[in-house]
Symmetry: C2
Subunit: 465 residues, 2 copies
């Protein structure tokens, strides 16, 4: 198996590889079920990047030539009549990076750069039980639309849970969403118009940047420090630009893992008051909280903070359940948009989550996760240190460590990672302008895997003894 | 119990009633669990509209004063500490009408005007079984995000099902959505800019109007006739305005129940070709098809038709599963927006629907629904005729009949309906401009209920014998 891939051609390498793989499968008369070479093997053999192979395989899956089998790799698919041989360009090159972690068929790679916990950590027995209970309960949960603001029983449980964080959130101040990104979309569409200016953290959540860009909103960047946003820069931007709002993770920020100190949190609210700034506090790692924490929504006394939560990180990314806490007029507008743009959320999913909140199984499962995350975080930090990695800040909770090996750029890191079957997310994804970065988001839940260890060692620069 | 409601005050009646109900509950020291008067009783006693009572009760539920118990009415709730006595105005008056059918607590009213089938008709055993099977299967379905285009196994089933309707839709031409309204939202955001002009049917789907209005899109109205859109008007609008696209239900249109004739369908595609018009064919009643049908996506040979489907009407509105069929570049843009605006759909829900498609239980359950709908449609049409109602057109399939009693306006119909515990949706909701209408959307699935019969008789004007 050798392909003639020519970098000088105007046809992108991915497309050349895709087409030559198709031709090869046909020429070799490969039968359905025949296994394709692993991503690493093929990348090495053809001297292309692993990303290129991943993308070619993805396209062949999308067009029905291959199928991805969980944990086992890629196989020739049963050919369906009516499938066209060439699916065209299903994905723009620009967006490949961000969603690769979400595609099917990469289960054999370790998702060290991803933003969620391994399936093996999750509360499988508890969630499956709650699902079965709901399936045996009142049939409305299986069939009916959800009310505009979300299921009242879930909102009551959320209200109780938030009271434990000292956040006043009566059920009528809550609207449910399909996770935090859906919440952000509803907020951006409701609060902002194209041309508006907002503050975002740098580095920060790439999909928030995508969303704001899509909506034509201008982003002002506030550097994230170990104790929260850089207040000097923030104050200057507030004075110069009068932005509409600030988007922030207070706890265990994505991607740096840093948390607000109480002093920064307090001063941030003072600045917000002085400049009439609204704050969107995306607190989706709230239930990973270990020890004390400074939350803006807890300190806020004037409904300046719009608070977001989600169950995607702590319970299930599959169910799509999150929520927004805001003043009732804004909640009404968000609920209206939620109906207009999709006739609401899933009653079934909300019933399942509400039940796990009510019967305590959610609380117990996040206790377990916290403990396990803490152990993995400590070990991963130790390992990174031993391997000569630089860490932006030692996080006190959550999933993420922001690390680098000074002098190693992403292309080099990715090459080394794929040699060890490790899938990274580029640091540039966490920059509002997509600027190249040496920094990597490391998900500590995957940091104990031998593939991650080998990658850390191989890429690191241990101090000479 | 008597309240001083004063129409001369600037405070809306709903708010007066809400506040006086609160005061009354407090004054009477009503205990948690005490039952409130029925909507009809209270409306009659206070000489206000039933809508006013419904809205007041809804607000009191939202603020925690009352709770709605399924099928039993409204009761004083256990007071939660921290609940504010006055929730303000959670819902704008303007939007009350549209979403009333979606709120909790109106189960004692017959939803004759609603757009879905009764829970009792649904495939409860089959869906519950599929849910339990998925809960026992691979844990990825419970926990993981869904790939951007949707689960490959579901798209394969959709591809097979559409082939039976003679629609060519390879899996790579399909992107899943959270139902048809979410699909419409993705399409509007991807294809249209504020200020663009599109064609919509009149009467038509109110939430499509909401969505287009929200997006600042100008609507040109094409009257719906018994055989499809009025082609003369359409041709004139095409020539004068060069609209970007047409939104249409080909089969069993919402709300008129009418279907395209083959001749109209063919001519429509000719016109679309001549004026380079795209067509968004929302075919969410496809699986109710009884007998032959003319579908644009079947006839379309140049990928001019964007096709939408949903399982909300035929299987479950709770799961939120639908899809779009389009050319691969548009599918890629829709999938990208779907990720940016909410990190995709529910893998769990897609796995459940995919399973029911694969094992045949979905097909069997819609066969039952079709049969039952056909019987109810025939009987409801007979009843309406006997009661002196005028019907826009006798539908050959689907849920809806568009009927009126000439000379009776909506206010009068609603009053009569609520006397019989029947909840209507105003005809004005199906007009792009919200113009008053004598016409009512009648959901035949509820037409055999004795409350509906009593309403038809009471409101009708039988011919003198």
């Amino acid at each position: 198996m050798h392909f003639n891939l020519d970098r000088a051609l105007p046809t992108p390498l991915v497309q050349q590889l895709t087409e030559q793989l198709q031709a090869w499968i046909t020429r070799q008369r490969l039968r359905p079920g025949a296994r394709l070479p692993s991503i690493r093997t093929l990348a090495k053999a053809q001297a292309v990047s692993a990303s290129c192979v991943i993308e070619a395989y993805d396209r062949l899956v999308a067009s029905g030539w291959l199928e991805a089998r969980h944990g086992a790799g890629f196989f020739v698919a049963e050919r369906k009549p009516g499938l066209r041989p060439d699916p065209g360009e299903p994905w723009g090159e620009a967006i490949d990076g961000s969603w690769r972690q979400f595609r099917e068929g990469h289960e054999q790679l370790l998702k060290l750069g991803c933003g969620w916990l391994p399936v093996a950590w999750r509360a499988e027995a508890e969630l499956a039980q709650a699902i079965r209970q709901v399936s045996r309960g009142a049939p409305e949960a299986l069939f009916d639309y959800c009310p505009p603001q979300g299921l009242a029983s879930l909102r009551l449980q959320l209200h109780k849970g938030l009271a434990r964080l000292d956040i006043v959130a009566e059920p009528e101040r809550i609207v449910t969403t399909q996770g935090a990104s859906h919440a952000l979309d509803l907020l951006v569409r409701t609060l902002l118009a194209p041309g508006d200016t907002v503050l975002v953290e740098r580095p920060g959540y790439y999909n928030l940047y995508n969303l704001l860009r899509l909506h034509g909103v201008r982003m002002l960047e506030v550097p994230r420090t170990a104790s929260g946003p850089d207040l000097e820069v923030l104050e200057q931007l507030l004075a110069e630009h009068r932005p509409r709002c600030l988007f922030i993770n207070s706890l265990y920020q994505n991607p740096t893992g840093t948390s607000l100190t109480p002093k920064v949190a307090y001063r941030l609210l003072e600045l917000a008051r002085g400049h009439d700034l609204r704050i969107v506090e995306d607190d989706l790692y709230a239930d990973f909280q270990d020890g004390p924490a400074a939350r803006l929504a807890t300190l806020d006394s004037e409904q300046r903070v719009i608070y977001l939560g989600s169950f995607s990180k702590t319970l299930s990314s599959s169910l799509r359940v999150g929520y927004v806490v805001a003043d009732p007029p804004l909640v009404a507008r968000l609920a209206e948009l939620k109906m207009v743009a999709g006739i609401g959320t899933s009653r079934f999913a909300e019933q399942v989550v509400g039940q796990m909140l009510a019967n305590g199984s959610y609380r117990k499962s996040v206790q377990r996760l916290r403990l396990r995350l803490g152990q993995h975080r400590a070990r991963t930090l130790g390992l990174l240190e031993a391997c000569g990695w630089e860490v932006f800040c030692e996080p006190v909770g959550g999933m993420f460590v922001w690390g680098r090996v000074p002098g190693r750029d992403f292309a080099e890191l990715e090459r080394l990672a794929l040699e060890h079957a490790v899938l990274l997310t580029p640091g540039s994804a966490f920059d509002p302008q997509g600027r190249a970065s040496e920094w990597l988001r490391i998900n500590v839940a995957y940091g104990q895997d031998s593939r991650a260890e080998a990658f850390f060692r191989h890429a690191g620069r241990p101090l000479a003894v």
